[in-house]
């Protein structure tokens, strides 16, 4: 049966939170000795990108959002760290995968969306929409922060 129809909550923290987390991760990156070597730009790019995503996930949702959880878990797996999240109250249901709940018309698009949004594979369509909305907000906030940083640090 359909669950409760609570008002959709997609509050996103202010820009400062994002900026703070991102700068922290950047400075952590800079502390690594191998970071500032002029060669190997691609590695640096990848690290910065990963740092951007991780800091965004931490700033925006922490462990309260499905996509941020999936992002953090994915990032930790790359570092071979084990990430433990506190148990959620609701069990992650596999019942969602029942075929009669899927509408074939919108399923292709939903599949593409699932590939884009982290953690999308484990969500039902309805939950996917909420997570996408929050993800979009956080992404746009992160882009703004990074843009400001780039503009600020650009050589005059």
């Amino acid at each position: 049966m359909a669950s409760a129809d609570k008002p959709i909550n997609t509050d996103v923290p202010e820009k400062d939170v994002f900026a703070l987390h991102f700068l922290q991760s950047l400075s952590n990156l800079r502390r690594q000795n191998t970071f500032n070597s002029p060669e190997k730009t691609n590695d640096r790019v990848k690290k910065i990108k990963k740092a951007a995503y991780v800091s965004m996930a931490r700033a925006a949702g922490g462990t309260n959002r499905l996509w941020s959880r999936a992002l953090l878990r994915r990032a930790a797996k790359e570092n071979n760290k084990i990430v433990r999240f506190p148990r959620r109250k609701k069990r992650v249901t596999c019942l969602r995968r029942r075929s009669n709940r899927r509408d074939p018309v919108e399923e292709e698009e939903a599949e593409r969306l699932r590939n884009l949004v982290p953690g999308g594979g484990g969500m039902g369509t309805s939950k996917l929409m909420e997570e996408t909305a929050h993800y979009i907000k956080c992404l746009s906030m992160q882009v703004k922060v990074m843009q400001c940083l780039v503009d600020g640090l650009a050589p005059k």
Binding site: D5, D16, L23, R30, N36, L116, M129
Partner: protein
């Protein structure tokens, strides 16, 4: 007990004479009595009432009765009370009782859950097709469905006229007495299937479309496109473009930083200035944040804080576009 109810004989006499709105008014009048009296489990009397009235709708009543039996004894008897009165205005009656009775602890898993406000709102909804009962929909006949729609429409009209506070009052009274639980009332449209699965399916689809509307407001440029597929396409493109922007900006950052070739101390100062321009508000008004930042030496923070605290006050409320330009100007001033 059944004292609160009108006796069956008077029911049978008066019922045929009353017209639909009168019946509904009668039902409303007896609403409160029924709420109090429906907590009983007096099945033999109910069966009498059922047999009394269920002459031409035997199978209907039997099917619904059996349906309720399997659902739960307490709840079933409550519904049977409703059936006992009539079968035509049953729907309106049932919706009334259910709006109160759903608060009973032995709930059925059949009813959808919703918040009370949404239920009141859904009753007020202009789209009349939003209020109905799922229980009633277990019947398969379209004729009765039409009647249900009529009844429920008139009921919703009356409730709208009498101010929606009535329904919320009833529900709140029911809630105050018993444990509060929330349900959604979904109305099946005319000509659509009435079984439970399609109703739940429809409710789910409506939820998804509501969320898609929310997404449509979020993504710029989605208003022109109609249809779910187009909106979803736009959303996907937007997410992809945002991710590409992140990648592009991170590349830019990677290029910029090592090119500056600053030492650790200078780096921290410059970084602090960049940090500073990003959120001058934080430094000016939230000293706790600085405690969280172990990166920078405290004396630097103190000095820079003092120097630029005044110009910051003006930029606190700046919107995002001018935020960036102001931050850049601040940055330039600090660098000097």
């Amino acid at each position: 007990m059944l004292e609160g109810l009108v006796s069956p004989e008077s029911l049978s006499l008066s019922y045929a004479d009353m017209s639909v709105p009168e019946r509904l008014k009668w039902l409303q009048q007896h609403q409160q009595q029924e709420v109090l009296s429906l907590s009983s489990n007096d099945s033999p009397d109910l069966l009498q009432i059922l047999q009394f009235h269920g002459s031409n709708n035997d199978e209907l009543l039997q099917s619904t009765f059996s349906h309720f039996q399997m659902v739960g004894s307490g709840f079933g008897t409550n519904y049977n009370m409703g059936f006992g009165h009539s079968h035509e205005a049953m729907d309106g009656y049932i919706s009334r009782t259910s709006s109160c009775q759903i608060h009973s602890p032995d709930t059925m898993g059949v009813m959808l859950k919703n918040s009370e406000e949404n239920r009141a709102i859904s009753l007020k909804n202009k789209r009349k097709s939003e209020v109905c009962l799922i229980i009633v929909k277990t019947r398969e006949e379209e004729k009765t469905e039409k009647k249900i729609k009529v009844e429920a429409e008139t009921e919703s009209n009356i409730s709208n006229k009498e101010a929606s506070s009535d329904t919320s009052k009833e529900t709140s009274k029911g809630a105050s007495q018993i444990q509060k639980l929330d349900y959604i009332h979904v109305r099946a449209r005319r000509g659509e299937a009435t079984d439970r699965h399609s109703l739940a399916e429809r409710a789910r689809r409506e939820k998804i479309s509501k969320k898609m509307k929310y997404l449509q407001d979020l993504v710029p440029g989605c208003n022109t496109v109609t249809g779910k597929a187009g909106v979803l396409d736009e959303i996907i493109n937007y997410v992809q473009s945002l991710q590409r922007q992140v990648e592009f900006l991170s590349m830019k950052l990677a290029v910029i930083n090592p090119e500056l070739e600053l030492g650790v101390e200078d780096l921290s100062v410059k970084q602090f200035q960049a940090y500073f321009t990003n959120f001058p508000v934080v430094i000016a008004s939230k000293p706790s944040v600085m405690v969280d930042v172990p990166l920078f030496p405290l004396d630097q923070q103190g000095s820079l804080n003092l120097s630029v605290s005044n110009p910051n006050q003006t930029s606190i409320d700046a919107p995002s576009e001018s935020w960036e330009t102001q931050s850049q100007s601040l940055f330039a001033s600090v660098l000097r």
